[in-house]
């Protein structure tokens, strides 16, 4: 594109890179590039890259706050997988992912399609659905903790009004996780809605108009135009929903503290408990690595699945 003329005058090392895009001096550019990058890279290495590697390292060590670290191979992994509480945490977290994934994707898409229409008021409804995004998790927990209260909560009040017996929600091990799932969908489905909305707005009107002229009904247009064109958005939304589902913590911590009967005790709370209340860093790091592996497996499986469809 650009010519040699764009090079700063007086730099003689130019010959080597004359054909390079941008046309600038290559080594000079490399130096400049790394100068610009260095502050971020320093933070990234110190607080992202090294901690990731350290987490894996610590998972193979006995590491208490005091005392010298010691390599113990897979002992931490053996310990956590022999711990019924960790297995419960995996089971509970999986249940949470199962309960949230489909509503988060389907409802996200349905809301996007509803609010993508050219009707008065859609902007207002979008704002209302989006508002929970800026509410912090403690507040979400405090608010829904009361809404789900058996005696004085609004949820049971309106359920009773349509003839449903009051449910103990957060005090009943069968209902505690569904209650957390409902709270989470209310809180975060807006992210998925926005991604779908952006994708829907990229689909050209003409495509729909042409299909309509050819006699395609709304259902056919949805299946043959909208859905295929939404595939990248669908893949992103599904991956994010599942990864974030496995990372659930704050809602459970504030609303139920993992209870009742450990029915909402999740993997991240296991990490928190093990590391920062029992001060067993090795097993906590191992649980973190297990969490990483689970999310990786799910992301890969989901990518494969999206390709196959």
């Amino acid at each position: 594109m650009t010519s040699v003329a764009s090079q700063p005058a007086g730099r003689s090392k130019a010959r080597r890179a004359s054909a390079q895009e941008g046309g600038a001096v290559r080594s000079g550019m490399t130096l400049a590039a790394y100068l610009f990058l260095s502050p971020y890279l320093a933070l990234f290495i110190a607080f992202m890259l090294l901690p990731t590697l350290a987490a894996v390292g610590i998972s193979f060590m006995r590491w208490d706050i005091l005392g010298t670290p010691e390599f113990i191979g897979l002992d931490n992994y053996r310990q956590i997988f022999a711990d019924p509480l960790f297995l419960t945490a995996i089971k509970n977290t999986f249940y949470f992912v199962f309960l949230t994934a489909i509503p988060m994707v389907v409802l996200g898409l349905a809301l996007a399609m509803l609010l993508d229409q050219k009707l008065k008021g859609t902007a207002f409804v979008r704002t209302v659905v989006f508002l929970p995004y800026v509410v912090m998790v403690s507040t979400v927990g405090i608010l829904w903790g009361w809404l789900f209260d058996k005696g004085t909560g609004l949820v049971n009040y309106y359920l009773t009004a349509i003839g449903i017996e009051p449910i103990a929600w957060l005090k009943d091990p069968h209902w505690s996780m569904p209650a957390l799932a409902i709270t989470t969908v209310w809180w975060t489905v807006n992210t998925n809605m926005i991604i779908f909305l952006a994708a829907l707005q990229d689909i050209s009107e003409e495509l729909h108009d042409a299909a309509t002229l050819d006699g395609a009904g709304p259902w056919q247009r949805f299946v043959y135009i909208t859905l295929p064109l939404l595939r990248p958005a669908m893949a992103l939304v599904t991956a994010l929903t599942i990864i974030n589902g496995w990372r659930v913590f704050g809602q459970a911590y504030v609303m139920t503290q993992g209870g009742p009967e450990a029915s909402t005790f999740v993997i991240v709370q296991y990490i928190y408990l093990t590391a920062f209340q029992n001060f067993e860093m090795g097993p906590a790091a191992a649980a973190g690595v297990v969490l990483l592996l689970i999310t990786l497996v799910f992301s890969l499986a989901q990518m494969k699945l999206m390709k196959a469809i």
Binding site: Y40, Q117, F222, N244, V289
Partner: protein, 284 residues
Amino acid sequence: MQDQRSNRAGKSLSGRALAYTLMVVVTALWGAPILWMLVTSIKPESEIYAYPPAWIPDAPTLEAYGALFQRFPMLTWFRNSAVVGILTTVLTLAVDALAAYPLARMQFPGRRVIMGVIFATFLLPYELLFVPLFLGLNSYGLVDSIFSLTVPASANAFGVFLLTQFFQAVPRELEDAAIMDGCGRFGFFWRILLPLTKPGLATVAIFTFVASWNNFFWPLIATNSDETRTLPVGLATLVGGAGMSMKQSVLMASAVVATLPTAIFFLALQRHFVRGIAATGIKG
């Protein structure tokens, strides 16, 4: 659910009626909890648990807010959250913009690897990092400090990713002309690139601030005194344990106070939020 699609073009009357019905239902389901929070926070004690629940208080009062600020170090938590949010935002914006410039606009060895590694962290469950981060900061005596709440958070890749996209959209010719005029790379970056990409910078700033404001797990670990505790961690202490007997009006007042800054931010700058999510799909 399917029928709503039929009026994408908004033509048939029944389709429109259905769409509006659904919109009312959606508004009620998503708006009611927020409204209930506001309404309850201004109810006097006698009305909080009234049956049936009243959406309009008979005698609105601010006593719950008074009790909240009197009994808890709300102002300290609030100040901590504000300081942490602003520092994190400024630091993140500075390092992210500097890093995004070469990634977006320069060819250099290692570029692809660096981008690959940085953006791979999108898939990383950050909870994995907290044990080593805590141990590392603890060994330098930095736990329970503003440092531990601000600097590590600036390693987040979201801003680099978003700004790289914004910077790529600026025409090459501008850069060539600027450098030919003796502007230099930094001159171009500072005087031309940044002013041209203000919407992108605003988006990153807003997201970083809101993420910091709402951040819960790391501050829960990294703080152990009210001197550094941020709002989300402080508020979590209101429920459970000693907070069990807390009046709902006080709890809801805390919810209103915590939500107000980000809600105002959001209502004023809604399009930046939407752009940020649409571009990356990253939540906080």
